[in-house]
């Protein structure tokens, strides 16, 4: 990374966002949200940039990032598969759904496939409990998912990716 115009553009956008905040007290979390939205994850480069702009030590920023599960310092795949592990989904079989995804993709929850096509992770309740068990892939919600549909769901994504 670094130096290419795409990155420069994003830094400019992040700069604009930071500038637009009048009261910078307590703005760190909002800035990190915006940064993650722009880059997909929070690299060291981004952390140092934010550190400089908000005048907060990078160690402190890292402390905040590692505290909140929403923030990630690892690059994520094109399709982020979030299996809802909220209680409603859990009692309706979310564990088996997660296991099947792990088996089909041959990765564990929290990991990405080598080709960076898929990232598998768990999620705490998106509130669509009527549709439990629920799987969210990027922004699309799959409701009442059954174990034998999972292969098809993955194939669907793969087809779309091509």
């Amino acid at each position: 990374m670094g130096g290419n115009c795409d990155t420069q553009e994003k830094f400019a956008e992040l700069q604009n966002f930071i500038d637009s905040i009048e009261d910078k007290r307590g703005a760190l979390i909002a800035v990190l949200h915006r940064a993650q939205q722009l880059y997909g994850y929070l690299s060291n480069e981004v952390i140092f940039y934010v550190s400089e702009k908000l005048v907060i030590p990078s160690s402190k920023i890292y402390g905040v990032i590692s505290f909140y599960s929403y923030f990630t310092t690892k690059q994520r795949g094109k399709y982020v598969i979030n299996v809802c592990l909220g209680t409603a989904c859990f009692v309706r079989g979310a564990e088996a759904i997660m296991k099947e995804f792990e088996k089909e993709l041959n990765i564990k929850a929290g990991e990405s496939t080598k080709d960076m096509k898929f990232t598998l992770s768990g999620l705490r309740c998106i509130g669509a409990c009527g549709l439990a068990p629920v799987v969210m892939i990027n922004d699309k919600v799959y409701g009442r998912v059954e174990v034998d549909q999972i292969k098809k769901i993955i194939e669907e994504c793969e087809k779309e990716a091509e």
Partner: protein
């Protein structure tokens, strides 16, 4: 403004939009356009109706005809038949499962009969993205009344008199919280709306914000006036994009009409609201942790006192109220504290919203008067247990709560009664479990959650809960002893007594309550090494039922070991000494001939 003869109200909550309700809206609009009746009929996207099980929901107003599981392709028929010809589309009506009769009106549905909707009054009725619809439903009238006719003291007194208690779980009297914050003199004070709904399986706050965001803004302004705050924060989970979107719209519209901002309604009162996003940390629902998170730091709790009412955000007096609590405020001022007290029980007036989920027929949001029994909620409103299975337990209070068994189903719900049976009100998650759920596994699930979410600041919570989880893990693996059960209780009590904040102080509850009510099930795990519900994999074995096996060989083909023996068209057998319990055969068999024991 157009005067429409008919409104089609379509649910735009997270549940229904996940099943294509917005596409349904597009199709309806297109069809209405095509038939040239756009000036007679309007399609409105509303907040959640609560009946999520049967979503997407479409209600025809004013006919009060309630259609369920409506698909985009049903749009044309609804417009042609119902809207134009006045004939109901019978196949989309709700069918009462016991009586097998079709019910047309919302009020006829057993799901709604016992409900009283105060906090959810506008959800499923108004378009949350249009402030005019909110104003037409008495929005901001309570604020006007407070600012123009009442002193600060009278406002606080009214809330105290109503008996409203915090709906986020603690049940602390809201009026007193306001009074304490008001009593602390300071040039700057803050009011915070806690919308960090972290209990997995609870979605009432999200639905209120999605369906009626203005009621929360209005209540915050009233609270601001009462305690002397000009600034409000709404701390909301980043996982709720739709609620955030609607709040942003609501704040902008309220500012445009001068209902937020400088000199509200010409009374000289200034108040504005800012959104702050959570980032996935359950502990931030605790008010001191939440305050640290608003300040942009790690959301770790701190010791109380000092309470936020004395020293909160930026060390200024701060009042933190939950979404549902705030949504109750405007009706209290419009209809009076005495009216509010007529609903619910003596000590817990008003209603409570529950997110009814799990193994129950009608999953959804339910608002009932305090004092309603669990049986009424689960059987009369929830329609009983799915697939006619046996009821086992209902879990309330999420990761901080406990399980309630059949014997206690007739207890009237309020803060005290739930505490007395080892559970708690919590934010209102209500998860129903049936005979197929293993209570040890459920306790383990909650402990995994709290272990993950423990912030790590105090030792009992950080280390103690991890030890609890390890013991539970050992038990579900078949390596537990009776001493482990005694250790769970002892350790659990210590964690409760010594943790710093509410998270640690309640984390062992799911374990202690399941141990109390389902001791036999724990014993079966440690003594007989059996899981009675056939959930814990290490403790169960797969067997082939000879009377059902047709000898199709499908199971033998998928078995990875392989340990399934048998010839074509003859009964197969699993060699238990080799079986690795992967469950592949169980999932493959089309004849239900493989059982878990």
């Amino acid at each position: 403004m157009n005067n429409y003869r008919m409104h089609l109200l379509v649910c735009g909550g997270t549940g229904c939009t996940s099943s294509d309700s917005l596409k349904l809206v597009d199709e309806l609009k297109e069809s209405i356009e095509k038939h040239g009746i756009s000036n007679e009929v309007e399609v409105v996207i509303t907040g959640c109706f609560g009946f999520c099980e049967k979503g997407p929901i479409l209600k025809v107003y004013p006919d009060d005809v309630f259609y369920v599981t409506v698909k985009p392709e049903d749009a044309e028929e609804i417009v042609e038949e119902h809207v134009i010809k006045g004939r109901q589309v019978e196949r989309l009506l709700y069918v009462e499962p016991n009586l097998k009769v079709k019910l047309e009106g919302q009020k006829d549905l057993p799901f709604y009969k016992k409900q009283i909707r105060i906090a959810l009054r506008n959800c499923g009725f108004i378009n949350p993205e249009d402030i005019n619809e909110c104003l037409a439903a008495d929005g901001y009238q309570a604020l006007a009344k407070c600012l123009c006719e009442m002193s600060k003291e009278e406002v606080i007194e009214t809330v105290i008199k109503s008996g409203l208690r915090g709906r986020g779980g603690g049940g602390f009297p809201t009026g007193l919280k306001w009074k304490y914050t008001s009593n602390n003199a300071s040039d700057v004070k803050y009011i915070i709306c806690n919308a960090d709904e972290g209990d997995p399986g609870a979605f009432m706050d999200r639905s209120i914000l999605e369906g009626d965001p203005h009621s929360v803004l209005e209540a915050m302004a009233i609270a601001g006036y009462a305690i002397g705050a000009e600034h409000g924060y709404i701390y909301i989970r980043a996982e709720y994009p739709l609620a955030i979107h609607r709040l942003e719209i609501a704040i902008t519209q309220a500012r445009e009409l001068g209902l937020l901002g400088i000199d509200i309604l010409g009374t000289g009162f200034n108040f504005d609201v800012e959104l702050r996003y959570g980032a996935g940390a359950f502990v931030c629902g605790e008010e001191t942790a939440l305050i640290h998170s608003i300040e942009g730091a790690r959301g770790e709790p701190s010791t109380k006192p000092p309470f936020p009412a004395q020293c909160g955000v930026w060390d200024k007096p701060t009042c933190v109220n939950n979404v549902e609590t705030l949504a109750n405020i405007p009706p209290i001022f419009l209809r009076g504290a005495d009216w509010f007290r007529t609903i619910g029980t003596e000590k817990s007036p008003g209603t409570k919203v529950f997110a009814l989920a799990g193994k129950v027929n009608n999953v959804g949001l339910v608002e009932v008067p305090m004092g309603t029994t669990l049986r009424e909620v689960i059987y009369d409103i929830g329609g009983g247990i799915k697939n006619n299975k046996e009821f086992k337990a209902v879990q309330t209070g999420g990761p901080s709560g406990g399980c309630i068994t059949k014997e206690n189903l007739d207890i009237p719900i309020d803060y005290e009664s739930l505490n007395s049976i080892g559970s708690m009100m919590g934010s209102g998650g209500m998860i129903v479990m049936d005979e197929d759920n293993c209570m040890v596994n459920i306790a383990k699930y909650y402990l995994e959650f709290t272990k993950e979410e423990s912030c790590g600041k105090c030792t009992p919570c950080r280390v103690g809960n991890k030890r609890l989880l390890e013991i539970l893990d050992k038990i579900t693996q078949g390596n537990g002893t009776e001493q482990d059960l005694a250790d769970l209780v002892e350790l659990g009590e210590i964690i409760k007594d010594t943790s710093l904040c509410g998270l640690g102080q309640t984390a062992p509850n799911p374990v202690l309550s399941t141990l109390h009510y389902f001791y036999d099930e724990y014993l079966a795990h440690v003594r007989e090494k059996k899981c009675p519900a056939a959930v814990c994999e290490s403790l169960l074995s797969y067997i082939i039922l000879p009377e059902k096996c047709v000898g199709c060989t499908a199971c033998a083909k998928v078995c990875p070991v392989p340990c399934i023996l048998g010839e074509v068209k003859k009964t197969h057998v699993i060699d238990q000494s080799k079986c690795i319990k992967c469950g592949a055969c169980y999932n493959t068999c089309k004849f239900s001939a493989i059982a878990k024991r």
